[in-house]
Symmetry: C2
Subunit: 186 residues, 2 copies
DNA sequence: GTCTATACGCCGATAGAC
DNA sequence: GTCTATCGGCGTATAGAC
């Protein structure tokens, strides 16, 4: 892993832990072991480095989630696998977290990767819900896009509830709750 | 409104807009029109002032939501009124937002009001779901606490999706989605 | 490519006068 | 109660040597 890579990886960690506003170049340098000069040689500044970190996180997330949602099993089973996927729940979602960052939302460049990921996710889930309706797993009256948004929102909101309580319990309950609402386990 | 009040109100606004990490005493002073000396006369420092602001926001939120959930109508109707309540969706939830703040979550004092609100909310929704089951509105097989967590999470996650897209649409879809899953509108 | 030096304003607070 | 002065450290770079 070269210096630019180490800078990006350290930035990814810090963005996840502390957000954009809470992450300073100095903290990135300390964590990565790089020097001031290296950082400003490889990147134009904090926004540029954050963008590189965001892109890597989003690309990785999309690949991981895509693999889960494209796996074996019924539509319902794949949604359950996705929602119950092993996570460090109290750390929150490294992408969703950025939506609470005022400087990210205010910058079209910094918000773009976040928007892309969630738009893709909702589309992917929409198709999966429609597939489940075709196979008779889900009620035919459901709107696939609305249902997909509710599933994605439950996950993101589950992180909020868990962090509020410093406990995984509300997250697990929310996931169980949405899965139960989707229909009885066959 | 006296000086202490103006300091608290300005802090509430800034915590909502920029979070705890992103809010500086200087910004609070500028917005409130108070001077340095006033602030440190009325409050011991930034955490103390933030705590006062949090408490006021949480108290107000609880009163508002309690009124909606205690209003007229069936359990389902009251949940719908709550979820569809007029909101400036893109601003996000002033309480949920704080869960993404590392310094808030790391401090038992600063996290306490957030935890209290969400614990209260889930309890209130749990009772309402149980009420709806008793009246035959909701499926008897649902776990009320899990369902309540899913409802609360959908709302919080709806904000995340909306801010990611800079659009209210995913929020509205998520709300419609969870309401549809709760059962057909009579 | 990486290092050190330098800059200048903001952060969060304390001190002491009025 | 409120004001101004002062403080050491951090945030976010730029400059120029090696």
């Amino acid at each position: 892993m070269d210096t630019a890579d180490r800078l990006i990886e350290s930035t990814r960690e810090l963005l996840w832990e502390r957000g954009y506003v809470g992450t300073s170049p100095k903290a990135i340098l300390q964590r990565s072991g790089a020097g001031q000069g290296s950082m400003y040689h490889h990147f134009t500044g904090k926004p540029d480095l954050a963008l590189a970190a965001e892109r890597r996180t989003v690309d990785e997330m999309r690949a991981t989630v895509d693999a889960l949602l494209s796996g074996p099993g019924t539509a319902r089973e794949r949604i359950a696998v996705y929602l119950r996927r092993e996570r460090d729940v109290l750390r929150g979602c490294p992408v969703g977290r950025l939506t609470m960052d005022p400087d990210v939302v205010a910058s079209p460049e910094l918000r773009a990767p976040v928007e892309e990921l969630f738009t893709w996710l909702r589309g992917r889930l929409t198709a999966l819900v429609a597939e489940g309706q075709a196979s008779g797993e889900f009620a035919p009256g459901l709107d696939p896009a609305d249902t997909a948004a509710a599933i994605a929102a439950t996950l993101q909101g589950g992180y909020v509830l868990a962090r509020a309580s410093d406990s995984v319990e509300p997250f697990d309950r929310a996931v169980s709750g949405i899965l139960a609402l989707l229909g009885p386990t066959p």
